[in-house]
């Protein structure tokens, strides 16, 4: 058994004060000046330690408040109110919600699993991954605690395909080539997001994080120069669409990503000839008929397929189809054709939470590729100002590489622990066993159909009165 894979996290403080969900509105006018002022009695000393961050005009009473609402209820003149902070509400969009962004910031800072507090009030179902409920039947067994417990839960996956069968010579020696596999201890690969104020230092920080975690960072081939050359072993050069690539400059890399296009087969063969030990991953957008395309890619000998969904976790050409449904149908198509073990399926697009990793794998992916979470780990607010030429409100490009690496390692440390929690609760000890285990989850659509699908239908021989 390999040594237990642990991600060592260390607090990496925010550079800017994060927005908090609610704000306090405390009026001084009309104050009775009571001896037992609820402000003085605040157990968190929020009012006594009040300060103002003038850079962003953030009042410390908002950031330090723990939402006990004692002051709101206790003030005899009802001068204290709580309200949703408009800056917080404006974060992100409908998929990258303020709550998700705030949780990612918190995990990147502390490296700890987020705790939501006193109970969860719902909603209990929603679109996309939110319509999946994972199995927790073995949550009662404390020894299955993969984080601190005795049992070893493996989160390692193999990148690459295994042959359908082996052939031997007459003398009994192996005739076929050995499968080319690369093992990573975490089913998560990093990719540079398509927007964001990312300078050289940021990319270096991400590469340092990929090396520290033992995984990969995918980035455009032309970006790999200067200091990044030292990180080649943990980098995946992405060949741009239409770019001619004969394999030059790929020395030292273990994996290359090529986009799906008509000549991708030629490119991959050229790279294979020049560098037989390099694995090739083909990235294909999730559009209608992608199942057929994946089958043809696997048929052409490519052993890794990266499925690229939209940034909102949907199909690229139909936002009513979610990533989870496409992964399932691709996985089942490969199983039906007896090709599933010949390819590693990586899912990407809109993966925003640790639970999305486990759910993608349950749907049939081997691993995932994440992009925006590694940007949000650097305090990004997903405001899109950088795409309009406006200055980044949190000056991401000024961040130090070591801080960037620590934040990403913290985030993935928290995600890794959550993956262990989810797998421990299912009684599964190897993430490779989780692949395609749809029986380990309940899908809301199926439950809804099975429970209420027959309502309103009239059985044969019956008539409505």
């Amino acid at each position: 058994m390999p040594a237990k894979y642990m991600i060592h996290t260390q607090t990496a403080p925010n550079r800017f004060k994060p927005f908090t969900k609610s704000g306090i509105i405390a009026w001084t006018e009309g104050c009775l000046g009571c001896r037992a002022c609820v402000k003085k009695q605040c157990v968190y000393r929020v009012y006594i330690n009040r300060g103002l961050d003038t850079k962003q005009m953030i009042d410390s009473i908002d950031n330090q408040c723990m939402n006990c609402l004692r002051c709101v209820q206790g003030c005899p003149m009802e001068l204290i109110h709580k309200s949703i902070n408009p800056e917080y509400a404006a974060l992100g969009d409908s998929h990258w919600t303020p709550d998700i962004i705030a949780q990612l910031w918190d995990q990147a800072e502390t490296g700890k699993i987020p705790v939501s507090g006193s109970g969860y009030s719902g909603p209990f179902s929603g679109p996309g991954f939110d319509s999946m409920w994972t199995d927790m039947s073995e949550i009662v067994r404390p020894t299955r605690d993969g984080i601190h417990g005795r049992e070893y839960i493996s989160t390692g996956i193999d990148l690459g395909g295994t042959p359908r069968h082996l052939t031997f010579t007459d003398s009994g020696d192996l005739e076929s080539d050995q499968a080319l596999l690369v093992n990573i201890p975490l089913p998560i690969i990093l990719r540079i997001p398509f927007f964001g104020s990312c300078g050289k230092d940021i990319i270096k920080g991400w590469a340092m994080a990929a090396r520290g975690l033992g995984t990969f960072l995918a980035l455009p081939n032309e970006m790999i120069k200067g200091e990044l050359v030292d990180f080649k072993e943990n980098l995946i050069p992405i060949i741009s669409p239409g770019q001619h690539c004969s394999g030059d400059g790929l020395e030292g890399v273990r994996l290359v990503e090529v986009p799906w296009e008509k000549n991708c087969k030629d490119i991959s063969q050229k790279i294979k000839q020049a560098h037989p030990s390099v694995l090739i991953s083909c990235r294909t957008p999730l559009v209608r008929g992608v199942e057929e395309r994946v089958l043809s890619i696997v048929d052409s000998g490519v052993s890794i397929v990266c499925l690229e969904g939209s940034s909102w976790g949907q199909s690229m050409d139909d936002n009513s189809i979610f990533l989870k449904d496409i992964i399932r149908s691709i996985h089942l198509a490969l199983v039906e054709n007896g090709m599933r073990d010949e390819v590693t399926i990586l899912a990407s697009g809109g993966l925003a939470m640790a639970e999305h990793v486990a759910k993608s794998i349950i749907c049939g992916a081997d691993g995932v590729v994440i992009d925006f979470p590694i940007l949000i780990a650097l305090e990004c607010r997903m405001c899109g100002r950088c795409t309009k030429g406006l200055p980044c409100p949190v000056e991401i490009d000024q961040a130090e590489p070591s801080w960037v690496a620590s934040r990403v390692i913290n985030l993935l440390g928290a995600w890794h622990n959550q993956l262990l929690e989810v797998m421990g609760a299912m009684g599964i000890r190897d993430v490779r066993r989780l692949r395609g285990e749809a029986g380990r989850a309940i899908f809301f659509e199926d439950l809804d159909r099975n429970t209420f699908g027959s309502l309103g239908k009239i059985g044969e021989g019956y008539e409505l009165e």
Partner: protein
């Protein structure tokens, strides 16, 4: 006028100001660049003299607050408190010789509500005659 000496406005605005979404805010930032700093607040009554004073000290040459129309405050009296606080802050800065017109309040109209962009344009026109603040941190 050089970029460094451009007049800057710190604008606090009630979150219920019409057309004051994140996109509207970014459009204003694109239009005015570094001359404007926008701060949406849950209620204009949240702004206290210290916010204005610290803004004038470290952030901008002028500070304004936009409130919802009188009688329309979600917290009943927030905009009325804001009005009194602005007056109090004006007195403070006048007493140190800075000029009370560096602080201002704009109450939106109930009958003819104006958008954030329109109000920001009006405020920008109102303050154009002012000179850069002598107290603003020159190393900002």
């Amino acid at each position: 006028m050089s970029e460094e000496k451009k007049l800057t406005l710190g604008l606090f605005y009630c979150q219920h100001t019409p057309e004051s979404s994140e996109l509207d805010r970014q459009s204003l930032e694109e239009k005015y660049g570094k001359s404007i700093r926008l701060f949406p607040v849950p209620c204009s009554g949240r702004i206290e003299p210290i916010h204005f004073l610290r803004a004038l000290e470290e952030l901008t040459d002028v500070a304004y607050v936009i409130t919802c129309p009188e009688g329309e405050c979600q917290y009943f009296e927030g905009n009325l408190w804001a009005k009194k606080r602005v007056q109090r802050t004006k007195e403070i800065i006048e007493s140190i010789g800075l000029g009370g017109d560096r602080i201002g309040i704009v109450m939106n109209s109930k009958e003819n509500p104006r958008s954030l962009a329109v109000l920001a344009d009006e405020i920008m026109e109102n303050i154009i005659h002012l000179k850069p603040s002598p107290v603003l941190n020159p190393y900002r």
